[in-house]
Symmetry: C2
Subunit: 332 residues, 2 copies
Amino acid sequence: MTAARYAVVAIGNAIVDIIGQCDDTFLARHGAAKGSMRLVDTPTIDTLYGEMGPAIEISGGSAANTMVGFASFGGPSAFIGKVANDEFGRIFRHDIGAAGVVFETPSASGKLPTSRSLILVTPDGERTMNTYLGISTDLDDREVDAATLETAQIVYLEGYLFDQPQAKAAFRQAVAIATRAGRTVALTLSDGFCVDRHRSEFLELIRSGVGILFANETEITSLYETSSFEAAARQAAADAPLAVLTRSAKGSLILANGESHEIPVDPVAKVIDTTGAGDLYAAGFLYGFTSGADLDTSGRLGSLAAAEIISHYGARPESNLGEIARARRLIF
Amino acid sequence: MTAARYAVVAIGNAIVDIIGQCDDTFLARHGAAKGSMRLVDTPTIDTLYGEMGPAIEISGGSAANTMVGFASFGGPSAFIGKVANDEFGRIFRHDIGAAGVVFETPSASGKLPTSRSLILVTPDGERTMNTYLGISTDLDDREVDAATLETAQIVYLEGYLFDQPQAKAAFRQAVAIATRAGRTVALTLSDGFCVDRHRSEFLELIRSGVGILFANETEITSLYETSSFEAAARQAAADAPLAVLTRSAKGSLILANGESHEIPVDPVAKVIDTTGAGDLYAAGFLYGFTSGADLDTSGRLGSLAAAEIISHYGARPESNLGEIARARRLIF
């Protein structure tokens, strides 16, 4: 096994977020389940955009956000995902590259545009996502660069990819390449409804070799079809060598080697927009973990990154996470 | 004179801002004068974008920001400006309309894209703008809708328009229409370098019938070619019936009828990005003024709006300004 060129390589949907504010009645009127992600078609996204308030555009995508957060800590990372050769594709490519993440997947010149997610933020800071996948559905196994994956310490995959047959194939190929090369596969379950759509396949994948499982409370209880977080956590600990479970305001729980570590949240003055909280928690955790920090410190780095991201709009950090972590003496 | 349909109609460049962070050495390396706006061509904007850090996209444009702020207070307003039929044009059109500003100028389907400004924000919160005008240069006198302008209480014009001969002609036509209809013409000087480029024409315009002059300290001292703010303010008071002069952290000065009103700033916990501070001050002032508030209250509404805008990235309000003003009992 050669030395890892990247600490983490992630595969995910390359998305530009269109973020606006709304109230709960707007979500209800448009049939959007608060806090979830749903896939929408062109007419639906056009209607929603036409009726939503003013918005701002910020590069997003779950695994992409995690890689940008990881790079903000100072970690070497790469991202694999598909954009079109259009304005949003150029925005996505610029932002992830400028953040220090290697992104070499070529842009597609087809008829589908770059993926976008209309993110509606309610006054409580909760985000509800309406995603039009566009060109993301074109990510296929040819895009999964074995040479890149083989030189990654960890291959990080987002569950959202399972929503498209082609991307799912790419996902499975990435797992095979990483496993063959002796690399660790990390999986984030992405969303409760997403878990509901692909429960048996996720379980099979986790049991067949996922080294690190990331999930929030909704996702892990959906996976194991139980209302008890504790019961779900026990099953996760049995199925994955390392399970990292986030619980919003209740902090997070890290389960490994028969031990459990409770990590507190990092308090923020005011929650503005929870978009990317889980993605950035994963970034901080992975940075600590791949740098040789203990699990508690890794979890605290996750909490720190999540706190930064929920204190403003968008899922990309506005501050250098490495500097914050050094000031807090969590890294040196 | 018929009743005004709009309290304010503004004409300006329709721009989408691309906002990122940088340090002072980055500005120096790229020859950008901190705090100013410069016009750049395609190769320059491409180079700058390629080298700047991750960015976010938010609709902007000086006069457009003012109209959105005005609408956020609850005032009826319209905007005239030119976008292309592209992704940024759709973003601009969505955002200004969703904010409640009437925007009926048709999109152009030419080869020039929608205008964009790369806004570089330094750690002190100061913004430096690099604007590629694109389709904005196509705004001409045919776009200046007399029917709209004639029904405006105030016609608000941004000095930046003077940088393009065609837009300058549209600007002059708007002044003629407004004057003929007995409406008040308001002018913002936009930028110190912009004043430097068009000093004599600005002076002629102001003396020939601008009812309300907005300028900051740099602009007004540039206009009268003096290093003394007090001397410049005296000349402004002689040239315009109402002069509204902003002085960043030193607050603002309103001069009318031989009287002067000093208005304090509205303190903010931390200045994040000064982009739009002047635009939003004008929004608050105009809302107070057109609602019949006294000059002191109008100035305080300006300070309130400026404080909201500098506390986050971008020049479009994230909070409802009318609600803030009512909570502060500045409006009822």
